[in-house]
């Protein structure tokens, strides 16, 4: 299709596709020109992209502010670590199991929580994180308490007789990149489906959505579970990458980070969340010099975000595209 025929040509889509392809190509070649440390920062950013995608579905598309992502992130990390340490199962099994366990636990938690209104819902989801941490600390028989689980094997794949282990930063980078790309594709498909439009309808006006026949309760519950699955998958990657999990995986700080990624990048946009995770996680990982100064900078950044960019940075990208468009 030539640009003249394309209905979206005016919004600059013809520029976006080559730009996106170039970015993808750059991502594939990143290990060639980046050192181990920047690569590590990008890996962490891509791991956090998964729970952030989940939160974006929940907050950006369905309009539910949840702080529970860290709880499901931790559940996924522990599920994956326990399987790997106790049964020596291959990575893909642990990875899928982590997502399934997180999603399954989200069902009984979501049913009472989603009955609550805004502020009470936020607090209830925060409670999941606090209680998750207490369980990880005190169920010593299973989790070894504060000592955590160490020596989680690096991801290894076994298909029949053939098996190989992903070790080293570069190998892990490609693994995470592939998974992040698949997750992004999954979110794209969900959002573009009729279900995605129903979610947006719930975000915009829940009563109205219900009156036109959208089963809002089921939608909210299922989206809550999907977001937990994404968080659990991210947790699994995190556990296998760092090779240790501890009760500190259940941290309010992680929920905050995911919230910042989504709101800072631009809730309700996919590119915004990718941009947000690279910017906030990648950058803070790269700036690990003085932890206090970093947190103070983070705090000021949050304030700036709230007061000057209430819609996140995604609109800026949009403005950049239209700027390019005008110059042509």
């Amino acid at each position: 299709m030539t640009p003249a025929e394309s209905p979206v040509a005016k919004t600059g889509a013809d520029l976006r596709i080559p730009f996106g392809l170039a970015l993808a190509g750059l991502a594939c070649m990143a290990p060639l020109f980046l050192g181990n440390y920047p690569l590590h920062a990008i890996i962490i950013a891509l791991i956090f992209l998964l729970p952030a995608h989940g939160l974006n579905l929940l907050l950006g598309y369905t309009g539910l502010l949840s702080l529970a992502q860290a709880a499901f992130f931790g559940i996924g990390a522990y599920a994956s670590a326990l399987l790997a340490v106790h049964f020596g199962t291959p990575f893909y099994l642990n990875f899928l199991a982590a997502g399934l366990v997180a999603g399954a636990i989200a069902l009984p938690l979501g049913i009472p929580a989603l009955r609550l209104r805004s502020t009470s819902f936020v607090m209830c989801t925060l409670g999941f994180v606090i209680i998750g941490q207490a369980i990880a600390k005190n169920w010593i028989g299973l989790t070894r308490g504060d000592m955590g689980l160490a020596a989680i094997p690096k991801p290894y794949f076994a298909l029949g007789p053939a098996s190989f282990t992903v070790s080293g930063t570069v190998g892990f980078y490609y693994l995470v990149l592939a998974i992040a790309a698949l997750a992004t594709l999954a979110v794209y498909l969900i959002v573009r489906s009729p279900a995605g439009r129903n979610m947006i309808a719930i975000r915009e006006n829940e009563t109205l959505a219900e009156s036109v026949g959208i089963p809002t309760w089921h939608y909210k519950l299922i989206v809550f579970m999907i977001s937990a699955v994404f968080a659990g998958l991210g947790g699994s990657l995190y556990a296998h990458y760092l090779t240790v999990v501890s009760p500190l995986t259940f941290q309010m700080y992680y929920s905050t980070t995911m919230l910042i990624i989504v709101l800072g990048g631009g809730a309700g946009t996919i590119s915004g969340v990718i941009f947000g995770s690279l910017l906030f996680v990648g950058l803070t990982e790269a700036l690990r010099v003085a932890p206090e100064l970093r947190m103070i900078a983070y705090g000021f950044f949050l304030l700036g975000l709230v007061f000057w960019f209430p819609n996140g940075f995604a609109p800026l990208i949009g403005r950049f595209w239209s700027f390019l468009e005008r110059r042509k």
Partner: protein, 290 residues
């Protein structure tokens, strides 16, 4: 046996009073600003640090340290109130969450940067034990209960009879109508915030002699304890918050004795979830604001 139970209940009332003084400010701030203040525990920490600084660096007596701690907290609250809290009046809920999380990060880490992250020893306060009705209790704990009662009665009188208290109630009911009848909403919001932060600071100074250790991250725990209290008490409801704080304080000290100390900090959120399943709007209706 019974003696231990009563002793733990009294201890629970002491920590309940501490939570109440912090939570009551937070719930009033919610009533006026419609924002959950995630930085509220940091003002508790600032009060403690102000008093610790006065005692440790200038050898001032404890009562003076109380005043310094509260005034320092209130001054910081003036700055935060002017630059942050006033601007989130009428903003969406996410803005309030993000902005107060940002403030919490800034305050907490600035204190750690200036004073170091290690635990400090708080040497002031009245820690002499006294015996009342056969129970031995530190003087400081009695002081905490008395101040808790004074704050409760004082706030009740203030919001019922004083001009600014009535204005606070009005703002918490309807912001637009307040603007119409000439109440300066931003002004009320600022003063409610300063009052709430000052009370949190006071609570911090009063608890310091009991807790003994002072450190930069102490505010976060208090924030997480007060959040379930204000939800259970019905957001914006002062009386409900007091009752919820007492319930949580007593429940915590009983759990710490009979179940295990490590479960103490989970009691708040566990109770909150049970309460919310049974009463989604908290124990007390938010209709009775203030």
């Amino acid at each position: 046996m019974l003696y231990t139970v009563i002793e733990q209940v009294v201890n629970g009332i002491v920590s309940g009073s501490v939570y109440a003084i912090v939570a009551v400010g937070m719930t009033m701030i919610f009533g006026v600003l419609r924002a959950i203040n995630f930085a509220h525990g940091e003002y508790y920490m600032l009060g403690t640090f102000g008093a610790w600084f006065a005692i440790d660096y200038f050898d001032l007596p404890y009562p003076v340290a109380i005043v310094i701690g509260v005034v320092a907290t209130a001054l910081i609250a003036v700055v935060v109130g002017n630059f942050v809290m006033q601007r989130i009046v009428g903003a969406p809920a996410e803005a309030g969450v993000l902005a107060t999380l940002g403030v919490a990060l800034i305050l907490q880490n600035t204190v750690i940067l200036v004073f170091g992250g290690s635990y400090k020893f708080f040497s002031g306060g009245y820690i002499e034990p006294v015996t009342l009705f056969g129970f031995t209790l530190a003087e400081q704990r009695i002081l905490i209960i008395i101040v808790g009662l004074i704050v409760f009665v004082g706030l009740e009188l203030m919001v019922t009879y004083s001009r600014i208290g009535k204005a606070m109630r009005a703002v918490s009911q309807n912001i637009e109508c307040c603007a119409v009848v000439g109440i300066d909403v931003r002004h009320i919001a600022l003063w409610t915030f300063i009052l709430g932060a000052g009370l949190a600071g006071l609570s911090g100074v009063l608890t310091a002699p009991v807790n003994v250790s002072v450190y930069g991250g102490m505010g976060e725990l208090i924030t997480f304890k007060t959040l379930p209290i204000i939800i259970m008490g019905g957001l914006g409801n002062v009386r409900g918050t007091f009752v919820a704080a007492m319930i949580l304080g007593i429940a915590e000290s009983l759990v710490a004795t009979y179940v295990g100390l490590q479960f103490r900090d989970t009691v708040g959120f566990a109770t909150l979830m049970l309460v919310l399943m049974w009463r989604p709007h908290g124990l007390f209706s938010a209709q009775a604001r203030f």
